[in-house]
């Protein structure tokens, strides 16, 4: 699975608290992605990165920020979590033929 790990795997947090999710890859891929997956909506792109310190917004970026200070780590931050951000979050990398490989996911519940 392209050496992608996500942490934490599960998290329950309260509305208004900040939350940071971490994605770690071991194979030096340039492109990394954060998606959220919700019933009826499929996979929606939140933010992506095309290199260290190079990031851009995706389809559903409001309420989220990202950072990439090292090639191997891509962090997703919810500055002030809301119940609408309860979701499953997947990190992915882009491989050489443009296919993507996903991490195991983080299930986030905001109460």
């Amino acid at each position: 699975d392209a050496g992608i790990t996500q942490s934490p795997r599960h998290k329950v947090t309260e509305t208004g608290t900040p939350v940071t999710l971490r994605c770690h890859q071991t194979e030096n891929h340039r492109y990394m992605y954060w998606y959220r997956q919700d019933p009826g909506h499929g996979l929606r792109l939140i933010h992506y990165s095309y290199g260290v310190k190079d990031t851009d917004k995706g389809e559903v970026s409001d309420g989220y920020s990202v950072s990439r200070s090292k090639t191997e780590d891509f962090l997703l931050t919810l500055e002030s979590a809301t119940s609408s951000q309860t979701s499953v979050y997947f990190c992915a990398i882009r491989a050489s033929s443009y296919e993507q490989y996903f991490g195991p996911g983080t299930r986030l519940t905001v109460t």
Binding site: Y31, G40, L43, L45, Y48, Y98, Q100, Y101
Partner: protein, 115 residues
């Protein structure tokens, strides 16, 4: 913007029956990718099609890319319980580079198989 529509949303089959999911776009696609997500799991890349009219097979799975590159299908012959999951199609933008290489996903077809 580019969109890919996937049908059906759900499909329930008896083990041994065939299954097909379709992916359609109003615009020409540069490529189509297929992913499978098992219940509780993460999406797993299956295959990529690039050429007009391309057909690829993986054991009981047959993938097709339409002649006009506006549609694609995944057909499973003689389904097994191990085929259970959600199948997604996805397409990257026409220019591949930068944000154009980002994937647009269909909403998926959820397959259940009754033993």
């Amino acid at each position: 913007g580019q969109q890919v529509m996937q049908i059906p949303q759900y499909q329930h089959v008896q083990e041994g029956e065939d299954f097909t999911t379709y992916c359609n776009s109003s615009t020409t696609l540069s490529n189509i990718q297929w992913y499978k997500q098992r219940p509780g799991g993460h999406p797993v890349f299956l295959i990529q099609l690039v050429k007009s009219g391309e057909v690829k097979k993986q054991k009981r799975l047959t993938f097709q890319f339409g002649e006009a590159k506006k549609n694609s299908s995944l057909h499973i012959t003689a389904t097994q319980t191990t085929d259970v999951g959600t199948y997604f199609c996805a397409s990257a933008g026409l220019n591949y580079g930068g944000s154009q290489g980002n994937l647009i996903f269909g909403k998926g077809t959820k397959l259940s198989v009754k033993p």
